[in-house]
């Protein structure tokens, strides 16, 4: 079967109807993962026992496949009375999965902040919460901009996993086109090109942001 560029172009608009869902899920999951990852990391540092617990939680999250986590949320939790719509399950699954990785990224970002910064905040009489939000968080974000951006791109590229729980994102639509027309090459190439374009755009923005943060740091 020959690759038909005209067919690829003609199915692209249909596939792009899933773009909104894909982007929405990627953005929501990235933000939730960042917030969750930061909370995990702060809890991990708060005291010894909670530290062990959070270490374990983060390891479990990072060491199980994202598909297993998604299936668990979408197919297993309903047996225990928690039924979430597909999109919510998807966002939750990706958020949890990436929160484990981002917690590790944040750990590195906080470790590289001089301990004198914590001490100065404490010595001024700031509460722990204020030290974290006003002193540590801004410096950490500067340190982790690049790796965090990479995980945001990774989260975007993980959205096709949600096709398995019937979220109407782009891969799901492309699969449907494929099964209806018996032509898979064109819709798959279209999906690939769309993701490639998105990922390159985000990478570019991240690099730009990173450079601006570095300039700010040199001031």
């Amino acid at each position: 079967m020959k690759f038909d560029p005209d067919f690829a172009l003609s199915v692209t608009p249909l596939i792009l109807t899933g773009l909104g869902t894909t982007l929405w899920i990627a953005v929501a999951a990235s933000l939730c993962a960042a917030v969750l990852g930061f909370i995990f990391e702060i809890l991990r540092r708060s005291n010894r026992w909670l530290g062990y617990v959070m270490r374990f939680v983060i390891d479990v999250i990072r060491s199980t496949p994202v598909l297993v986590q998604l299936y668990f949320i979408y197919f297993v939790l309903p047996f225990y009375g928690l039924t979430l719509p597909a999109i919510a399950s998807g966002v939750l699954g990706l958020s949890i999965y990436y929160s484990g990785y981002l917690a590790e990224v944040f750990k590195g970002g906080i470790d590289s902040i001089d301990t004198g910064q914590f001490e100065a905040g404490k010595a001024l009489g700031l509460r722990r919460r204020d030290v974290i939000v006003s002193v540590i968080l801004p410096q950490m974000l500067r340190n982790v901009a690049a790796p965090m951006g990479n995980y945001f791109v990774s989260a975007l590229k993980a959205t096709p996993y949600l096709a398995v729980i019937a979220v109407p994102e782009m891969l799901g639509i492309a699969m449907e086109v494929g099964s209806n027309s018996f032509r898979y090459a064109e819709p798959m190439v279209a999906v690939g090109v769309i993701f490639l374009t998105l990922a390159l755009c985000i990478s570019y923005v991240v690099r730009l942001l990173e450079r601006r943060l570095q300039i700010a740091h040199q001031r």
Binding site: G116, K122, A123, R128, D130, Q139, Q218, R219
Partner: protein, 248 residues
């Protein structure tokens, strides 16, 4: 020196601190009266920094008691952050917040801890930046300043909270020689206004001219304390004599 009418600002007795098997502080007793200016000196590793870091509990002690402004501080002190607001601290490496401007460094604690409005906090910050003689640097970031300027901002930042006691932990040790004077001048200024000060420093001239009392530490103990005149002219402890002969 110590008048009986004013309660001591800092009261330390029987203080002990261990790092594993290493004893950093052995039974340290030290009372500092309000408005008194104490210089702590001694060879490195003698426990000077550890001692003043215990006063605001950046280090927790293992035995003994510390009272600051009449309130006992230790690892179980509730709301320690409230007590720290009355204890200013200046660090060897300044520890300014690099992501905030000079002015923001000074207003942060006023806004977050004292819950002040921005305008009022800025007014106070500018007052103290004037006092440390760098009002013109208010919009710059710490990375754009010299070491001496950064340390003066750090002093202003601590003064903004109107502390009752100021702790200085080797404030000039990380500075280039030509910047030491500007920082010491500011510290002398602060002293002249009656601030209770505890300074760990090797600046013997500062000790001679500004301190009411010099405390000499060795191996985690206070081995000698006297007024600067006596300390510099007739040190009694052999370790102090040796120390002075090496640095003067």
């Amino acid at each position: 020196m110590t008048s009986s009418s004013t309660p001591p600002a800092v009261c330390i007795s029987g203080l002990q601190k261990w790092y594993g098997r290493y004893q950093a502080l052995c039974d340290v007793d030290l009372n500092v009266a309000a408005n008194e200016r104490v210089v702590i000196c001694g060879p490195s590793g003698s426990g000077k920094s550890t001692l003043i870091r215990c006063i605001n509990q950046l280090e927790t002690h293992d035995a003994g008691t510390i009272e600051v402004n009449g309130k006992r501080v230790d690892r179980s002190t509730p709301r320690m952050h409230m007590l720290r607001r009355d204890i200013g601290m200046v660090f060897q490496h300044f520890n300014l917040f690099p992501h905030l401007t000079v002015l923001e460094n000074c207003t942060l604690a006023l806004r977050k801890a004292r819950k002040m409005k921005l305008a009022q906090a800025q007014e106070i910050a500018e007052h103290y930046l004037n006092r440390v003689r760098i009002p013109e640097q208010r919009g710059k970031y710490p990375g754009q300043l010299s070491g001496g300027q950064q340390q003066r901002v750090a002093i202003a930042r601590a003064l903004c909270m109107s502390p009752k006691v100021m702790l200085f932990d080797e404030p000039t040790s990380a500075l280039d020689p030509e910047m030491i004077k500007e920082v010491l001048d500011v510290m002398t200024d602060v002293a002249s206004e009656g601030m209770t000060m505890i300074c760990v420093t090797h600046e013997m001239n500062f000790a001679r001219t500004v301190a009411n009392r010099v405390v000499f530490m060795d191996a985690g103990r206070i081995v000698e304390q006297s007024d600067p005149q006596t300390f510099f002219s007739r040190p009694s402890h052999p370790r102090a004599q040796q120390f002075l002969s090496q640095i003067l």
